[in-house]
Amino acid sequence: MPKLTFVMPDGSRREVEASEGASVLEIAHDNDLEDAIEGACEGSMACSTCHVVVEGDWYAKLPPPSAEESDILDLALGLTRTSRLGCQIRLTADLDGLVVKVPGEHLDMRGR
């Protein structure tokens, strides 16, 4: 089974086993990380609350985002050049070892 590491907003790391074909969002929820990655629309690209930042060279290894994903991603807070929607990244064998960062902005955007 491929492994996936979540880097939490406070810098701590959580390495988890992922079933092949599952999305990063599903894997997060299977591992009790609902509070970190909300996924309000349950993966239907209507919310941007599953935003993750893909670390290092991994970004280039992912299939590129669709136009729909880019549109929704644009609305995510703390957007970076290697941001993706967690519900759109599916774990395959060649993504074994993937590292994604959980942005903290969504929990601290007071006054917006």
């Binding site: 349950e42 690209m45 919310c47 969504h106």
Partner: protein, 439 residues
């Protein structure tokens, strides 16, 4: 004794608060007080009926509602069945999460004419909200004007221009689906007083206008700037994408589809024309300087039989609470209103942002409550027991979450498979259904 918390209103802001409180580890007892028999606020009554996936978040809220510490008191209105002062005497903490359900006024002559609606009322009507289901707007018109260029304005314009097949997959109430299908409307104008760069719609919603089966979006090329100008990087990217989409719309043909949605920028409404009923809107052409629109002295009219103003929302004044009339919110210090009284969501911040923007509000207020009541050690008021007693004395008809689940199942069955649901649209019908289906 656990901290007793009453959350007034069960929209997103209320639910994020309950979720944060109930997962904090503190000993808390949380009661939702909701004026409707149905939960979820604008997720049910605001979010467009053809955007069902946006409503998926309800499933998360349901998990919160089903938690041990949480109770739902539906069909109980603060100000009708129980006063805020009473709630505050019974609960350690009261959280206001009542939203901003009122339309801002246009403030121009003629806005009281028949056929002119605010988007809160009109959206409530097509979403089957009991307060507005009898609005009965006359859609037997050739042209409609939507004032405003945000996502709500686009929702309104889009729903008017959907085909029968597209509408058949929504949860529009039957009366609204009928009215839209029977409407001969051909031209829908969405008008903003400022330019395309100032418009608040998001590209997702804008692009969707280009994909409708029976309606074509039209934009005047001369109203589009060459570039979006100097903006912070993030805003720039968003605006550039909008501009790109609007440019694509410029190339579309007037007669491509049976219906047309015209985007008209730099148009400030100055008067609603007509006799008893609206017959048109008079606009003044504007120019935008330094982000402000100023009139040019040039006027033009758009004839129409229906006007929907989607220019923003405000909250209702709540008895016994300070109110900021200008902003239409309850003044607060990052969610704190007074001792033991808190605010989250649109009543706290005003009507901006997306569903998940309400989450930090809930997280923050849960922290305040945790700090103010020393992690559960300091709860001293009876909460639920006292409320139940009071409501029983007043013979209030409480709709529980289990009752709501029955209504939900009935609605989904009435949807008949293709439609996600057919809603109950009156409180009477909901209560009658529950009376017939006790046990």
């Amino acid at each position: 004794m656990p901290i007793s918390v009453a959350i007034v209103g069960s929209g997103p802001a209320g639910f994020y608060t309950a979720d944060a409180l109930s997962s904090s580890g503190d000993a808390v007892s949380i009661d939702f007080i909701e004026r409707l028999p149905t939960p979820y606020g604008l997720i049910r009554g605001g979010v467009a009926p053809d955007h069902q996936t946006t409503k998926n978040v309800q499933k998360k809220y349901e998990k919160t509602a089903l938690k041990e510490q949480v109770r739902f008191f539906g069909n109980v209105e603060v100000g009708r069945d129980v006063s805020l002062a009473e709630l505050r005497s019974m609960y350690d903490a009261v959280v206001l999460a009542v939203g901003a359900p009122r339309d801002r006024a246009l403030g121009i002559p003629g806005e009281d004419k028949k056929g002119v609606f605010g988007s809160a009322d009109y959206v409530g009507w097509y979403n089957g909200h009991p307060d507005f289901r009898d609005l009965n707007p006359n859609l037997n018109v050739a042209a409609a004007v939507v004032i405003g260029v945000g996502n709500v304005a686009i929702d309104v314009a889009r729903l008017l221009s959907r085909s029968a097949d597209e509408l058949a997959e929504t949860d529009l109430p039957e009366y609204a689906e009928r009215a839209i299908l029977d409407s001969p409307v051909k031209d829908i104008w969405t008008c903003g007083r400022r330019g395309p760069i100032d418009a608040k719609f998001t590209n997702v919603e804008l692009r969707e206008m280009g994909k409708l089966s029976e309606s074509v979006p039209l934009v005047k090329a001369e109203q589009l700037p060459d570039s979006v100008g100097e903006l912070p990087e993030r805003d720039k990217r968003l605006k550039e994408r909008n501009l790109e989409t609007l440019r694509e719309f410029c190339a579309r043909k007037l007669d491509e589809k049976p219906k047309r949605v015209h985007f008209e920028f730099y148009a400030a409404p100055v008067e609603i024309l007509g006799g008893d009923r609206v017959e048109g809107v008079r606009f003044e052409r504007t120019r935008v300087e330094g982000g402000r629109a100023t009139g040019t002295g040039e006027f033009f009219d758009i004839p129409c039989g229906l006007v929907i103003a989607a220019i923003g929302y405000r909250s209702d004044r709540i008895e016994g609470v300070p109110f900021d009339d200008k902003q239409g919110i309850v003044p607060n210090n990052d969610g704190r209103v007074e001792d033991g009284l808190y605010a989250v969501g649109w009543i706290k911040r005003g009507p901006t942002g997306v569903i998940s923007s309400n989450r930090p509000d809930g997280v923050t207020v849960a922290e305040h409550i945790h700090n103010d009541f020393a992690g559960g050690a300091k709860g001293s008021k009876p909460g639920r027991k006292a409320l139940e007693k009071l409501l029983a004395e007043r013979k209030a008809r409480i709709v529980s979450f289990a009752d709501w689940k029955k209504l939900e199942a009935a609605e989904s069955e009435a949807g008949g498979g293709k439609r996600p649901r057919r809603k109950f649209t009156t409180v009477r019908d909901m209560l009658d259904y529950l009376d017939r289906n006790r046990n």
